[in-house]
Assembly symmetry: C2
Homo-oligomer: 452 residues x 2
């Protein structure tokens, strides 16, 4: 269009610039009209172009905003529908209120600093009562195959994990525990309920342990184990006879505890409590820093001020226990601080060495050569944000799981193709005399021989 104007200029006449008029030179009134008409058309065409473009822009913006999805694939739409449906029903489930329940409709009042908190009615004669009960209930002895009866307690919140992969690893974790406990005659309670509104989160184990002690007098030891802790030595057994004069067994380091007052001197991710009066009393002493709200907040400040390396956050059960034991040292006479084997084994220093362990050592050692428990502290696969990179955690948990699973599958003649692989392969040929392998490879038979 610019070119025509220039051409007109060059002519230097009064000729009107034309674009499409076939008779280039005539200058009648009719030409003037036709030229005006052409410009009209031109402008109209421009307007139409701009209108179409604006319309297209509007459609695209709308699509981006409301998912006006004519361009989405059917599969994506289906998946989206499933996810939305799932989230909707879950939200309904999570928000469930019972209209007949006055408790549900009260404001959730938080404990004030001056209120006293109690785990439950004060019991003072548990040892006698329990002893009497055991005498009267010979069918429910506190021993299993000559060993003290242990109840392993673990759990997770009742709602799905924030991160989908979290539920998958909770599943693998409980399978791992089922395997260990089946081999060693240990019962499991998997808790998914909050027994006490005040003591939620990591504190929830306190009311749970207390309730289980009082409801299972036949149980001699209650063993709390975090959901992010895996058994990695399927042969090792806790040397209970070592603790005949103690009531609590917990992994830690006395130097870190008493000299350094470190907030990680002990680990409450895996510990044992004897079912007795002393334990009930300790739980009562331990609990007061737990009630959520101002109590837990203030307690957190005390703990941060007194424990080395502790960041500022609300009181957690582990710091509270450490603080309790270093300030009221009379409790220590019955607490065994164990570090000769990994009742709790911090994962980062262990997971890369599994192949080396398989090459040099064997199950049953329970220590740094073949860790009893590998504990994925800080990984938090169930939550949104862990303290470590996601890939590092997931692949490490996968390795630990398979490292342990290999020890279980050995009886059946299989092992994993690699520590990252869900696939398994044979390590023995089929046989018409399978029982010789049972005698050789069933861990319980080796355990039996060791104790005889």
């Amino acid at each position: 269009m610019g070119q025509e104007g220039f051409t007109a200029q060059k002519r230097g006449s009064s000729a009107l610039p034309t674009s499409t008029a076939p008779n280039g030179g005539s200058r009648s009134g009719r030409s003037l009209l036709r030229g005006g008409g052409n410009r009209q058309i031109h402008k109209t065409l421009n307007n139409i172009k701009i209108t179409i473009l604006c319309g297209l822009v509007t459609i695209l913006v709308l699509r981006g905003t409301i998912g006006f999805g004519s361009l989405a694939s059917d599969n994506d739409l289906d998946n989206q529908a499933i996810i939305e449906e799932t989230n909707r029903i879950l939200a309904e489930i999570r928000s469930d209120k019972d209209p007949d329940d006055p408790e549900d409709n009260q404001d959730q009042s938080l404990l004030n600093l001056n209120d006293t908190y109690s785990l439950g009615a004060k019991i003072s004669n548990w040892d006698e009562e329990r002893s009497l009960w055991l005498t009267r209930n010979q069918d429910f002895p506190n021993t299993v195959n000559g060993k003290a009866r242990i109840l392993l307690v673990t759990g997770s919140p009742p709602n799905p994990c924030d991160n989908a992969i979290g539920d998958h690893y909770l599943l693998k974790s409980i399978k791992n525990k089922i395997d260990y406990c089946r081999i060693h005659g240990i019962e499991i309670v998997y808790n998914m309920a909050h027994l006490d509104k005040e003591l939620a989160g990591y504190w929830a184990k306190l009311p749970l342990i207390r309730r289980l002690m009082l409801s299972h007098p036949e149980v001699e030891w209650i063993w709390w184990m975090d959901s992010d802790a895996l058994f990695t030595d399927m042969v090792f057994e806790i040397p209970l006879s070592k603790y005949k004069d103690h009531n609590m067994v917990i992994h830690g380091y006395p130097d870190l505890l008493f000299n350094q007052k470190s907030w990680i001197a002990l680990n409450t991710g895996s510990f044992l409590f004897r079912n007795c009066q002393w334990s009930l009393d300790l739980l009562d002493e331990w609990a007061p820093m737990g009630p959520k709200g101002p109590v837990r907040e203030e307690a957190g400040k005390i703990l941060t001020a007194n424990l080395k390396g502790r960041p500022a956050f609300e009181a957690d059960d582990q710091s509270a226990l450490i603080y309790l034991l270093i300030t009221k040292t009379e409790w220590m006479s019955k607490v065994f601080v164990e570090n000769s084997y990994f009742l709790h084994g911090y994962w980062a220093g262990l997971v890369d060495r599994y192949e080396e362990m398989m090459e040099k050592y064997h199950p049953g050692l329970g220590d740094e050569r073949w860790p009893f428990v590998t504990h994925f502290v800080g990984c938090k696969p169930c939550g949104s944000y862990g303290d470590y990179p996601v890939q590092r955690c997931l692949s490490s948990m996968e390795r630990a799981f398979n490292f342990a699973d290999n020890q279980v599958l050995k009886l059946y003649g299989f092992r994993h193709r690699g520590l990252l692989s869900p696939k398994i392969k044979r390590i023995r040929n089929e046989t018409v005399t399978p029982l010789e392998y049972v005698d050789q490879f069933d861990i319980r038979h080796s355990a039996q021989e060791t104790s005889n």
Copy 2:
């Protein structure tokens, strides 16, 4: 712009139409030039407008396609990053190949129709061998507390579910089984490995059951239970003495089986196999329709042709078993087709009646009044597409889970606030004499009294 042209037309002179020229009337050569310049500017402005619009369209299209996310919130980006990271490591895990393993690198050849498939080396003297072994291993009797030893077997694939909520319900399902089995002294094996490439999917239970029989001679009954089946009667016990002359116990209806030849006459989601030669032989007879590929496809056609109501799809283990038992009826002498209680209870007719059941009946009945097992056939929470609406399935599974959990929590003094609620509430006050409730509410004590 149209208006100006009209005005010029009206003047009826040779005056050039102008838009911005201040001196409206002069008709010099300079006016001509200026008018030409104005048109130039006009056209240029139009071009610029259209160019900008096109650019905007391009950006929006690109954003929709590659997620050029300057408009996404930080949270969304974080979540997206976590999901992508998770999927990446999982894909790595799933694709793991062992370069040293020739098996892993072979083409996965499918069994041809003429090939014979075998579960393993043919064993013919299992009863004698097992009996001898039991005699020699008195520490591993085939009874527990006077009852035949049962091993409950269940499982799920090693990879995370397609649908995230699936892993959460697998977790709840295994917790439910842990509770029942703890109360009743039953051991659990949770399988997450494919023992036999050929028999994957629903057929995977066959090589698994066989392997467990041969590796656990101390086990009298192997009880297979699907991961989508929940215990809903925590008191009921399988009346094993009823089956002293049988080797297989399976829920079903003889009329549907022999007269109607229905493909749902029996349900292989929950059944028991005695650990004996007969069972090994039946497994060998059952397996041949299972190998994936042409064998399973062709077998599927035979089953669809012969079983009433069966849709067209590859052979499944349930249809294959039904077909086997109606064509080789000699096996039936040792098969107990049970329907006096819900060893398998189809969920749709049960889940809406739980409140009615709680009002009218009590645990221990195991039948339509208080179903032993509620089985969520067709819900497939782990996969992408079930046969029922997602909401119906999820809320029903939640109700069944809580209905069962209430029976477990009763010992501890709690129940769920409602069948859809993860929250619990007290049903008894705290007490200083907890043991009276143990005697009253521990299911094992009632079971003991019943058998005495």
